[in-house]
C-alpha cells in the first residue's frame, strides 16, 4: 500500500555502502544476510529481453543481432506511442479479370494517440498485415561496418600484445580499445554480466563489446581516413526569408530518436521498430544470493488527534510476531531528520499471525491478547493499531518528522535446514532492528 498512497511517508534506513532512506515498497530484504537492501546495494543483472507491446521474449543473442528491437512492433515517430495496424478496403482489379474490381484489404500503420499514419510519410499500404514494413536503409551502413571491422581487428591485436607482455601497466594517456579490466572479464564471464561495473579511473570501454571469434583469420583491413572538404554546400538563398512551416519542423526528440537520419522535416519521419525492455534480476552484493521481497509492512498513517498519532502495523507472516518500539537516543548518528520528539509505547506489541482463512471464519474465537487500551487502539486478525505521542520540537514551516527503532523477531522459513547434532528448534528466531522515519506532514498553527 505504501506504493500507491503517500510513498514517502514512512522511510526505512538501509545500511549499505551508502546510508539510504527510502520507503519499504522500494526496498528488498536479503534472507541470507537478514538485512534490508535498497536498489543501490544490489547488483542488477539482465535476465531476459522482451517487447513491451507484444510481450515476446527474445534470447539475448537474437536481441543483440536485431539491435534490441522487436521485429513486429513499431513506434510512432511523432509521439513514440505503439503503432497499430489498420485495414481498409480498397478496390483492386482481380488478377484473372482486369475489368472487374474486388475489394482487397490494404494495411497501414496508425497511431491512436497523435493520429499519425504511415501514409503521412508516403509509405504505401501493404497487402500483408505484418512483416511488410521495412525501415529505410542507412546510406552510411557500409562505411560504418567497415570501420567496425577495422577496430575489431585493432582491438584484437592490442589484446594479443598485452597478453604477451603480461604486465598490468595501464597507460591512461593513450586511449585503448580494451582496458585490462574488461579483457579479463570478457574472457571469463562473457559479455554483459559484470561489464557495467567499471572501476573508478578505468577508461571508458565503448568498444568493449567487440571481440573477434576465436580462430577467425586476421585479414588486413585498411580504411580510408575521413576526408575533410573545403567546399561545403551553400545554404539556399531564401534560408533566412522563407516563412517557417512549424508543423513540418521535427522536434529534437523526434529527430534524435532516429540517429541514422535525423530528419529535419516531419515528412521524413519513418517509424522505427520498438525498443526491447529487459527483465532484471537483483543480486545481493554481499552474499551473492538472489533477493526476495521484504516481509514486513507498516501501512497507513491516520492523524486522528492533535498530538496522538495512530499507526497501523500488519504482520505478513503466519506466526506470531513480537514488536518493540524504542525511541532514538540522544546523539544517535542515524537520527538526523527528526524534528519532533516521539513517545512510543514501552510495552511489547504482539501481532497475531496472518491467517488467510480467518477473514471468512465468522465464528472464530477472538484472540486473547491483553491489550492496554491506552496503547492499542484496535486489533483485527494480523493487524494492530497503536498510538504514539508526538511533541513537535521546533516551530518551523517544514514537515514534522519523527524517528524510532522497530525491533522484531523474524523466522527465516526459507533458509536451508542445517543439520545439527542437538535437537534444535526447526526455525530459530532472530531479532532485527530497523531505523524508521515517519513524515507526518506540516504543522498546523
Amino acid at each position: 500500500m505504501a506504493s500507491l498512497l503517500q510513498p514517502d511517508r514512512v522511510l526505512y534506513l538501509v545500511h549499505g555502502e551508502k546510508k539510504i532512506r527510502s520507503s519499504l515498497s522500494t526496498l528488498y530484504f536479503c534472507r541470507y544476510c537478514s538485512e534490508l537492501r535498497s536498489l543501490e546495494c544490489v547488483s542488477h543483472e539482465v535476465d531476459s529481453h522482451y517487447c513491451p507491446s507484444c510481450l515476446e521474449n527474445m534470447p539475448s543473442a537474437e536481441a543483440k543481432l536485431k539491435k534490441n528491437r522487436c521485429a513486429n512492433c513499431f513506434d510512432c515517430p511523432c509521439c513514440m506511442h505503439t503503432l497499430s495496424t489498420r485495414a481498409t478496403n480498397i478496390p483492386a482489379p482481380l488478377p484473372d479479370d482486369p475489368s472487374k474490381t474486388a475489394m482487397k484489404k490494404a494495411y497501414y500503420l496508425a497511431c491512436g494517440f497523435c493520429r499519425w499514419t504511415s501514409r503521412d510519410v508516403g509509405m504505401a499500404d501493404k497487402s500483408v498485415a505484418s512483416g511488410g514494413w521495412q525501415e529505410p536503409d542507412n546510406p552510411h551502413t557500409q562505411r560504418i561496418n567497415k570501420l567496425i571491422e577495422y577496430y575489431q581487428q585493432l582491438a584484437q591485436r592490442e589484446k594479443l600484445e598485452r597478453d604477451r607482455k603480461k604486465l598490468a601497466r595501464r597507460r591512461p594517456y593513450m586511449p585503448l580499445a580494451f582496458s585490462q579490466h574488461t579483457i579479463h572479464v570478457v574472457e571469463k564471464y562473457g559479455l554483459g554480466t559484470r561489464l557495467q561495473r567499471q572501476r573508478p579511473g578505468a577508461p571508458i570501454t565503448s568498444l568493449a563489446g567487440l571481440s573477434l571469434k576465436e580462430g577467425e583469420d586476421q585479414k588486413e583491413i585498411n580504411i580510408e581516413p575521413a576526408q575533410a572538404l573545403d567546399e561545403v554546400e551553400p545554404l539556399p538563398e531564401d534560408y533566412y526569408t522563407r516563412p517557417i512551416n512549424l508543423p513540418e519542423v521535427t522536434s529534437l526528440r523526434q529527430r534524435l530518436l532516429q540517429p541514422d537520419f535525423q530528419p529535419a522535416g516531419a515528412s521524413q519521419l519513418h517509424p522505427k521498430h520498438k525498443h526491447l525492455l529487459i527483465k532484471r534480476s537483483l543480486r545481493c552484493r554481499k552474499c551473492e544470493h538472489n533477493l526476495s521481497k521484504p516481509e514486513f509492512n507498516p501501512t497507513s498513517i491516520n492523524i486522528s488527534s492533535e498530538c496522538q498519532v495512530l499507526l497501523t502495523l500488519t504482520n505478513p507472516v503466519e506466526s506470531i510476531t513480537h514488536v518493540t518500539l524504542v525511541g532514538c537516543e540522544e546523539g544517535d548518528p542515524e537520527d538526523i531528520n527528526s524534528t519532533a520528539k516521539v513517545m512510543v509505547p514501552t510495552k511489547e506489541l504482539v501481532l497475531a499471525g496472518k491467517d488467510a482463512a480467518a477473514d471468512y471464519d465468522e465464528l472464530a474465537e477472538p484472540q486473547d491478547f491483553q491489550d492496554d487500551p491506552d496503547v492499542v487502539a484496535f486489533r483485527k486478525s494480523n493487524k494492530i493499531g497503536f498510538f504514539i505521542k508526538v511533541v513537535p520540537q521546533r516551530e518551523e514551516d517544514g514537515d514534522v518528522t519523527v524517528s524510532f527503532k522497530i525491533r522484531h523477531d523474524f523466522r527465516n522459513l526459507a533458509a536451508p535446514i542445517r543439520p545439527s547434532e542437538e535437537d534444535d528448534a526447526p526455525t530459530e528466531a532472530i531479532w532485527l532492528t530497523h531505523h524508521v522515519e515517519l513524515s507526518l506532514g506540516p504543522l498546523v498553527a
Binding site: C79, F113, C114, R115, T117, R119, D120, P247
Partner: protein, 191 residues
C-alpha cells in the same frame, strides 16, 4: 401527430435521435441524423445553438453557449451570439465545448476542453484531456495531442462516423425514450 415546436425550446429535426435523458436547455436546433446520447447536455444560455447533421454527441458531453465571464446575465445591451456546429462532428464522452464556431468533421476527444474564443475549422482533432483556450482559429486538419497540447497536421481528415451513427440510430430507440422531433411523425417509442 405533429408536435408543435415550443418557442425557445428544442428544435429537433426529423431523423435526429435525441435521448430523453439528455438535457437540452434554451434555443437549440439539432439537424437530422444527429445522435445525442443520454446525459449529454446542450445548454444555450447566452444565445441559440445550431447543430448540423450527422453529429455524434456522447454521454456527459457539455456544449454550452455561456456568457463571457465578466458579464452578468442581466446586463442590458448584450447581443446573443449564436453557436454554430457543422456536420459530422464527434463530441466524445465528457468533453466540454464552448467554442462558438465549429466546422465539419472535427473530433473532440474525451474530457477535452474548448474555450470560448477558439474556432475550429474542419478536420481538427482535439485530443483527450487537452485544454484549448487560446484565442485563435485552429487551421484545418490539425491534431492537438499530448499533455502539452502538441500539435501536428495530418494529411487526411477524420472519417465521418457513418457506421456508428447508423448503428446507434437503430439501437438507441430500443433502450431509451426519445425526445419528440418537429414535423413529420415522431420517432416510435417502444416499451
Amino acid at each position: 401527430f405533429a408536435c408543435p415546436s415550443a418557442p425557445g425550446g428544442a428544435n429537433i429535426a426529423a431523423g435526429a435521435v435525441v435521448c430523453v435523458e439528455s438535457e437540452i436547455r434554451g434555443d437549440v436546433t439539432i439537424g437530422p441524423r444527429t445522435v445525442v446520447h443520454p446525459k449529454a447536455r446542450i445548454i444555450a444560455e447566452a444565445g441559440p445553438i445550431i447543430i448540423g447533421e450527422g453529429n455524434l454527441i456522447e454521454e456527459q458531453a457539455l456544449i454550452i453557449n455561456s456568457y463571457p465571464e465578466n458579464i452578468m446575465p442581466d446586463t442590458e445591451g448584450v447581443e446573443p451570439k449564436t453557436m454554430t456546429i457543422g456536420i459530422n462532428n464527434v463530441f466524445e464522452v465528457g468533453c466540454v465545448s464552448q467554442a462558438l464556431k465549429i466546422g465539419d468533421n472535427n473530433v473532440i476527444e474525451s474530457k477535452a476542453d474548448l474555450g470560448k474564443n477558439v474556432i475550429l475549422t474542419s478536420g481538427c482533432i482535439v485530443g483527450a484531456c487537452c485544454q484549448v483556450n487560446t484565442c485563435e482559429v485552429i487551421p484545418e486538419n490539425t491534431v492537438i495531442y499530448g499533455s502539452n497540447c502538441m500539435r501536428r497536421v495530418q494529411t487526411e481528415r477524420p472519417q465521418p462516423q457513418t457506421l456508428q451513427l447508423d448503428f446507434l440510430m437503430k439501437i438507441l430507440p430500443n433502450y431509451h425514450h426519445m425526445k419528440k422531433t418537429v414535423k413529420g411523425t415522431s420517432t416510435p417509442v417502444r416499451n
